[in-house]
Amino acid sequence: MQQHIKTYYDKIEAVIASRQQQSKSKKPRKGLLSPSGEGGAAAKERDQLQTIADIVQGIREAKEEILNARK
């Protein structure tokens, strides 16, 4: 089970890293890659992954702020 958790945790790390890199790029508005074209179980799984990545990123930012405020 620990192996699966580590794989999942690495996936979350990759999502956060890619989000930081692609923060300035625009999302496609038309075509198959557009947000409206997505759907089904894959989109739901991605949403849950994004939600967890959001929370983890938020915890990290809050931790950095508190640690910086202490200095």
Partner: protein, 166 residues
């Protein structure tokens, strides 16, 4: 009198062995529907519970014991499943949040921790899936290869030459 006799007889004949060790249907918290279904709500619940001052000493004791954070987080998560707060699937989804919270608490208190066991970090362990495939390959019967007979090429003057296929 007759009723009592029939009751005793029914109990003996109808009770399957080991029934006293089993719980009734939906008699355990994890057998019922979970209290929280939404992933973000489950994560919020762990953020609230781990942030309580009453739990701080116990969490710090666990962190100082140098147990990997993933193991402690798994214990928290399985406790939540045991109490019927959420399902196992939702708990696994929320595991990174618990690990990150524990890491933050450790950093605030200057406790050195590791997230995963050393074997997992170094990658010295083999994934169970790979092991299963390996065991499957090993257990397969090996077919003996048929011996290939080499034909001697005729070398005499009257020997026919092999035509090359274009």
């Amino acid at each position: 009198m007759l009723e009592n006799e029939s009751k005793v007889g029914d109990v003996i004949s109808n009770t399957p062995p080991g029934i006293s060790w089993t719980a009734p249907a939906k008699g355990r918290p994890w057998m019922n529907a979970p209290n929280v279904v939404d992933v973000s709500a489950v994560a919020q619940g762990y953020i609230n519970s781990l942030g309580q001052a009453e739990a701080a000493n116990d969490i710090l004791d666990a962190l100082e014991s140098e147990i990997p954070l993933a193991v402690i987080a798994e214990t928290f998560m399985l406790t939540g499943v045991h109490k019927g707060r959420h399902t196992l699937d939702t708990g696994i989804l929320v595991m990174p949040v618990i690990i990150e919270l524990l890491q933050s608490i450790a950093d605030f208190n200057n406790i050195k921790t590791v997230k995963f066991t050393e074997e997992l970090v170094k990658g010295t362990t083999v994934h169970p899936r790979v092991l299963r495939e390996f065991a499957k390959k090993v257990s397969e019967p090996v077919e003996a290869a048929e011996p290939v007979m080499e034909q001697e090429q005729p070398t005499g003057l009257m020997a026919r030459k092999n035509k090359e296929v274009m």
